[in-house]
Amino acid sequence: MSVALAADAGLALLILGLAVWTSIARTAGGAVIGFMAYGLLVALVWVRLAAVDVALTEAALGSGLTGFVLLGAAARLPRDAPAARPGWGLRLAAGVVSAAVAAGLAAVVLLLPVSAPTLAPAATANLPALGLGNPVTGVLIAYRAIDTLLESVVLVLALIGLWSLARDGDWGGRPGALRSADPSPALVLLAQVLPPLGILVGIYLFWTGAIAPGGAFQGGTVLAAMWVLTLVTGLTRPPRVGGRGVRLLLVAGPALFLAIGVAGFWLGGAFLAYPAGYAKPLILAIEAALTLSIAVALGLLLAGPPLAQSGPRA
């Protein structure tokens, strides 16, 4: 066991070191690269904590999409702009707030009773009634379905917020933030070969979520990453934000979730209650629709607000 303890301690030290370096890095690009390595190590920590579902989410988001967001932001920042360097007062305040949060978290962890209160046995005991094998999916889509429903709506709201940044004249156009002028041949090859495999992995992650780590969010994130890859190389064009098809896909997941939830009033006796015996097919249907909607929402969030001149027809 001491080997495992040494490994955990080493992992924790590495993460702390990377975190410190990321926050003091001189260039934005360097900080982003440090942060992405940090995300990978955090995924390993989640595995050590036996939370493979969380590790999958961290890996899919952290290595797939976050890099685009952060490096894209770094590329748009004017270099060495005075506004980009906060003053001493702001830095001190940020340091104090961060230290307070860290101290609060440490206190909570230290004050935990020796055997922490847990609902895990109850969650596992009721899984057979749902036809599921993965307790995390059980919590997300059944026990705490209302949280997941609201989260899936939040993604749509976030996209509406992003779209509202568009100028009036640009409205209805195609998002243009990801287009690159002259993608390298190696990149184009990757964008041709990888998506079929990635789509397979995305669907597999959604499907296996019922019995093993995985699920709609992880699967949708992988699908979104594949879409983003084809957008960057220009192999596909982002859809017009006014298009009916893209909007239908965007709301399909939350809408189906909500419809089944409301139907639960009559069929299951409560909001978001599944009728006995039909839980698993309903859950799979919700997860399938959510996977698609999450993929479209994440891809469009990365693609940025619409631009009128990005299409051939203004």
Partner: protein
């Protein structure tokens, strides 16, 4: 037979670890960005490849084994893409002009 397979796993995985070590040493010691990139791809292709090869007798067939092979092929594809991309970026950055075709 089992002993032979176990021995195979131990030797192959250990060789894979050696290639990871070689890749890291190359990344730390080689003189410029392009040669360091070269060290990286060795670890990618051979280190991970040997680890996957060594693990193959230890997993369930077909899906466990195919998944391992898929991981290696994906890593190969990523390495083959990252190499040219970073090499091009490093060349342009160091010399201030586009590399010859």
């Amino acid at each position: 037979m089992t002993i032979a397979l176990t021995l195979f796993t131990i030797i192959t995985v250990a060789l894979g670890v050696v290639f990871f070590l070689a890749g890291t040493v190359g990344l730390l010691r080689f003189p410029d960005t392009l040669t360091r990139l070269h060290a990286l791809t060795k670890a990618d292709n051979l280190g991970l490849g040997l680890v996957v090869l060594g693990l193959l007798p230890q997993v369930a067939w077909p899906f466990g084994g195919l998944k391992l092979i898929a991981v290696w092929l994906l890593a190969l594809l990523a390495g083959a893409t990252v190499g040219p991309l970073l090499g091009h970026a490093a060349w342009t950055q160091e010399r201030g002009r586009e590399p010859p075709p």
